[in-house]
């Protein structure tokens, strides 16, 4: 178990290094210089390049990034907030906190509502409840996040005026409702569909019949016997959910005017602020990679049958 976890951590670090390299190469391939403005002369650009070490060969620049990241130093912003340390920008200006809060709430909603809905659908298989839930979840996985976000905005903020149009820094609970719902709805529906399918699989197993034959109550058959086994596919799916929620946050943050990390990443790419691009990519990727790691380990806890050492791809 420990060996497996160590191996997974090694792979995770390797992935992160790979992502850093790709990001570094890509951002250097963006045409133009971060210091290029209408007034700047070639000398000024050269001077600025020298100041931030951008005149050195690429591999040295990359090595410098890796070295400073290992020390926990994310560099300083070149352009958007010139001179400010990137770690301050990301972690101390509320950006990371906002995005993380939004993402975690969305994840929580998807899981806490998706799994029970899936169970209810499976339990009432073939009835109108199941049919109704199936229609909702099928439509739910077909609506792009930005369509749902903007439709919610039109209905509840513009027409009914129940909720604020601009969510801002999410200071009130009302500001949370629409961003969290639009961010999590797709995953909520997907988790519900997944739970329903695997629950139906589980219900047809022999041990469920045995439990029923022993006279165990339906409620505990579902909750204790069937649910545990049907959770495995759901847990596997949580890694992709995290990645997807980060993707969705770009859209949701710009739709509801939330000054989070996702919105900032898009701006930093357009501004060619290299240290910010790099730091945002690494922080967001690390989130996804850690989530995948946690999911892989959670596997073992939910289903001891899964052998962690075998190389199942």
């Amino acid at each position: 178990m420990t060996g497996y976890i160590l191996k997974r951590i090694a792979v995770a670090i390797l992935t992160l290094l790979l992502i850093m390299t790709i990001t570094f190469l890509l951002m250097n391939a963006i045409p133009g210089s971060p210091f290029l403005t209408e007034k700047s002369t070639p000398e000024m650009i050269a001077k600025a390049n020298a100041k931030y070490g951008l005149d050195k060969p690429l591999y040295i620049q990359l090595w410098n990034y890796i070295k400073s990241y290992l020390k926990g130093d994310l560099g300083t912003s070149l352009k958007m907030q010139e001179g400010t340390p990137v770690s301050t920008i990301i972690f101390h200006q509320g950006k990371f906190e906002l995005s993380l809060k939004l993402g975690l709430y969305a994840l929580l909603l998807a899981v806490t509502l998706g799994i029970p809905l899936g169970c209810i659908a499976a339990y009432n298989r073939g009835t109108w409840i199941d049919g109704f839930l199936r229609v909702i979840t099928t439509v739910g996985v077909a609506i792009p996040t930005f369509v749902l976000a903007t439709l919610l905005l039109v209905t509840f903020a513009v027409k009914l005026q129940w909720l604020p149009t601009i969510s801002g820094s999410l200071t009130t609970w009302k500001a949370f409702i629409m961003p969290v719902i639009s961010l999590s709805f797709y995953y909520l529906c997907y988790v519900a569909k997944l739970t329903r399918t695997s629950m139906l699989d589980a219900i047809n197993q022999d041990y469920i019949r045995t439990a029923r034959a022993k006279g165990v109550k339906t409620r505990s058959v579902i909750l204790k016997h069937a649910l545990r086994n049907s959770l495995i596919p759901v847990i596997t799916y949580l890694g992709p959910v995290m990645a997807g929620i980060i993707t969705g946050s770009f859209v949701v943050e710009s739709t509801f005017s939330i000054p989070g990390l996702g919105k900032y990443f898009v701006q930093s790419v357009l501004n060619r602020d290299y240290p910010i691009i790099m730091a945002t990519t690494v922080v967001l990727s690390a989130l996804v990679i850690i989530m995948n790691l946690v999911v892989d380990i959670a596997y073992k806890i939910v289903d001891p049958r899964i052998s962690l050492t075998s190389k199942e791809v």
């Binding site: 992935t15 099928t138 609506i143 903007t150 859209v251 710009s254 990443f265 898009v266 791809v313």
Partner: protein
């Protein structure tokens, strides 16, 4: 047959139901004739895989309905633009911000004139606009002939009217001379007729009646239905092409990895794992920005047919394809590898190997045809995900670039004026959802129809 076997038989045979008197004649033991053989073959016709799948698919009401709606969407996207006179980029200055089925004042005038005069109502390039008619050359194509006209002096606020007699004549009528759709015959100004159209002459489109703006128009005076049609077309095309790219790369990679096994498989699968764990959207966003200029340069310099075909699509779309080719094939590769691993243990593959078939032949003849079901399903479900990505990028201002319409960019344009004109968001959003929904349902139906595990 007195029923005593029923006790030991695993099947519950009701002895009463066994026919008491079975009459068999000698004829029954004769060899079958040709006719009988033929009818036997006819009765037990072997059903091909696809026919069988189609039969099962047809029984699935939901998937059939989804397929039908998707075909309607296809017609809307590909046939629609041919049926309406507007295009995605045409801006009608006087027809801005119209609600669905609303006509601008100019269009109302135009309609009344078109109804009352014996000729056609026409105006240079912009049907329904009451702009100044610039001086210069115009030409009209009618009945296979080209008629050229020239206007020596610009005329303010007028409408061009074409008399479609044997020899067409073009007139300018000032707007103030039109009353209740009637114009004063004395106040029209005829244009000089020239023989051949001069270079750079503007074409005059003939308009018999003004086509309604079914979905309204946007702030730039562009018809929203036309833009939705073109946007849907872009989305569907991107989805299909991206899915095909993923199919080709993923299945080749997966097949090689699964077939080779050993160290090759190990290395190839570690690469897949690495790519799989990259949060691709971050890289995609960077790629979009990075590829924009180099692609544009390539378009401008390229003389090859490939480059010009790509340049018609625009750098945004091409970089979406590149993104799919780089990052999105891994799921397909995993699925194909899994299938190949299963299939290569089958006896017929061993037999083929024993008979000396090459690896290429085994892949082509035995492995790919047997995992075609999985390939079709995954490809079909890949299309919506490509459409999602395209619309997501366009929504963020990357992806498809203006003036080309995309459902995603239309939604983001609509966001600016959402409180006043919500329908601008609803139309592209709903069409996008319908396309993705129907494709998902068709994919589900295909899974049920093609998955051999469910086959009984």
């Amino acid at each position: 047959m007195d029923g005593k076997f029923a006790k030991i038989s695993p099947f519950q045979v009701d002895p009463d139901k066994i026919p008491q008197n079975i009459h068999l004649n000698d004829d029954d033991f004769l060899a079958a004739g040709e006719d009988e053989k033929a009818s036997m073959v006819e009765k037990h016709k072997s059903v091909s895989y696809w026919k069988d799948a189609w039969r099962r698919f047809r029984k699935n009401t939901v998937s059939m309905a989804a397929l039908f709606i998707f075909i309607v969407c296809l017609l809307f996207a590909f046939l629609g633009p041919k049926l309406i006179p507007y295009s995605y980029g045409d801006q009608y200055r006087s027809a801005q911000k119209l609600a669905p089925f609303e006509y601008s004042d100019d269009e109302k005038t135009a309609m009344s004139v078109a109804g009352s005069c014996d000729g056609f109502y026409a105006t240079a390039l912009q049907p329904g606009s009451r702009t100044a008619i610039k001086k210069g050359d115009y030409y009209v194509q009618s009945g296979g002939k080209t008629y050229a006209f020239s206007l020596k002096k610009a005329v303010e606020k007028s409408i061009l009217i074409l008399k479609a007699d044997e020899e067409p004549a073009l007139f300018v009528v000032k707007e103030k001379d039109i009353k209740d759709g009637q114009y004063d015959k004395d106040k029209i100004q005829a244009l000089d007729c020239t023989d051949t159209p001069a270079e750079g002459a503007s074409e005059i489109k003939l308009v018999k009646s003004v086509f309604p703006h079914v979905f309204g128009t946007d702030s730039a005076g562009r018809d929203i239905m036309a833009r939705t049609m073109y946007g849907a077309r872009v989305s569907i095309l991107i989805g299909i092409v991206a899915a095909l790219i993923v199919l080709v790369i993923g299945s080749i990679y997966g097949a090689i990895s699964g077939l080779a096994g050993g160290a090759v498989d190990f290395v190839m699968m570690r690469i897949v794992e690495l790519i799989y764990s990259i949060p691709e959207v971050l890289i995609v966003l960077l790629l979009q920005v990075v590829l924009k200029d180099p692609l544009q340069k390539w378009f401008d310099s390229g003389t090859s047919a490939f480059a010009s075909a790509m340049s018609d699509l625009g750098s945004g779309i091409v970089s979406i394809f590149i993104t799919f080719a780089l990052l999105y094939w891994v799921t397909m590769a995993r699925i194909v590898r899994g299938q190949v691993l299963q299939l290569k243990e089958q006896e017929y593959v061993t037999a083929a190997t024993a008979l000396g078939a090459s690896n290429g032949r085994i892949i082509r003849r035995h492995l790919l045809p047997n995992c075609v079901g999985a390939l079709v399903i995954t490809t079909c479900l890949q299309i919506p995900s490509a459409i999602f990505l395209e619309s997501f990028l366009s929504f963020l201002g990357l992806g498809v670039s203006a003036p080309m319409a995309s459902l995603g960019s239309m939604c983001s344009d609509a966001l600016e004026t959402i409180s006043l004109y919500p329908y601008r968001l609803v139309f592209p959003g709903v069409i996008l959802t319908i396309i993705v929904l129907t494709l998902n349902l068709v994919g589900d139906g295909l899974r049920d129809a093609l998955d051999p595990r469910l086959k009984k």
